[in-house]
Symmetry: C2
Subunit: 206 residues, 2 copies
């Protein structure tokens, strides 16, 4: 057996820095936090962003109900405390992805301003981009892809955002896109242009 | 205003597949789960792996007490239930990173076999690699980098793994490294060689 070089090895903090990861990735780590009513187009925009940024070589990931609600947050229900804890955990996970140099895109209604502001507050300046996916209730209800508005109107879903529970629109979102007025490509371009202009994609090919 | 192309946009599942992300990364997403006594060298190995794999262009990230205990799991204490929930959440986050095509390296004592097996059970076959960072209690206690063993022996830390609480060694770890018998480079090589041999690093330059 070879003699260990040190009997007292311990963690040397910061062996790999976030800047190292970002240099490798060609872009900054960042959280793109989409918020808006059910049916406003958050998931569609998230996955379109994901696809277009990956095609340029970015490291991206979408956090949404599909991969969070039945995993990390499967112990949480829909009480006010559980909704807050749901958003808190998603924020913490998005922060980890951001620290890893990933472009994390979250697609949750996240109706309460205080919950979103709490996520912003745990992030470094510039790491959290709030995107208001704006579309009128009429537009969202007319889409109703999962039939949820219909159920909510029938009283089958209690506390449904926009119908029987409030949606608190962002007051100072970095980006607003209106999917009732602009098409998917235009909305996605708006977000990518923001990232370009602000230098997030500092070394990604066009 | 341009007319939206569709009033009924919704998520098209699987726009970007995991395979797409892995192709871009040049390696598979995987969780390398380091388990072992306090002072066994988990964090040191984790950060060395991180550094060496990043140098080859991999997308990697270390989850450890520093970035998890004061963030995602800051609401958890050290009761048996909280310890189990701590590992459950870390497992779920590691799963998300793995799905994102990242090489996620976790460095937690994770002393209970049932907790580790539960993490394994939520992952796809081959996505979870258990690495036993083996070192005798004597070796770990002689290192005692944070003075924790001394405090535990003095009765100042209750339920300290290896002293007053059990460590359940893995029965079927994919990899075992003994940091009391081999140096850091050798231990790290063992893990990287495993990844190479099993095809995890399918398109990373040497």
């Amino acid at each position: 057996m070879s003699k260990p070089k040190s009997q007292n090895i311990h963690w040397h903090h910061g062996d790999v820095s976030r800047a190292d990861r970002e240099k490798r990735a060609g872009h900054r780590g960042v959280t793109i936090w989409l918020t808006g009513l059910s049916g406003s187009g958050k998931s569609t925009i998230a996955h379109e962003l994901d696809k277009r940024l990956l095609a340029r070589g970015a490291t991206t990931y979408v956090l949404d109900g599909d991969n969070v609600r039945f995993g990390l947050n499967k112990d949480l229900g829909f009480s006010p405390e559980d909704r807050t804890e749901n958003i808190r955990r998603i924020g913490e996970v998005a922060k980890l992805f951001t620290d890893a140099g990933v472009i994390a895109i979250t697609a949750f209604i996240s109706p309460y301003r205080a919950d979103r502001d709490r996520v912003r507050s745990i992030m470094n300046e510039g790491d959290f981009l709030e995107v208001h996916v704006d579309a009128s209730l009429d537009v969202c209800e007319s889409r109703d892809p999962k039939g949820l508005y219909k159920k909510a109107r029938a009283g089958e879903i209690p506390e449904f955002t926009g119908i029987s529970a409030p949606y608190e629109a962002p007051l100072n979102a970095e980006i607003t896109v209106n999917t009732g007025e602009a098409d998917l490509e235009t909305c996605t371009n708006t977000i990518i242009n923001y990232l370009e202009t602000k230098g997030y994609l500092f070394d990604l090919p066009k």
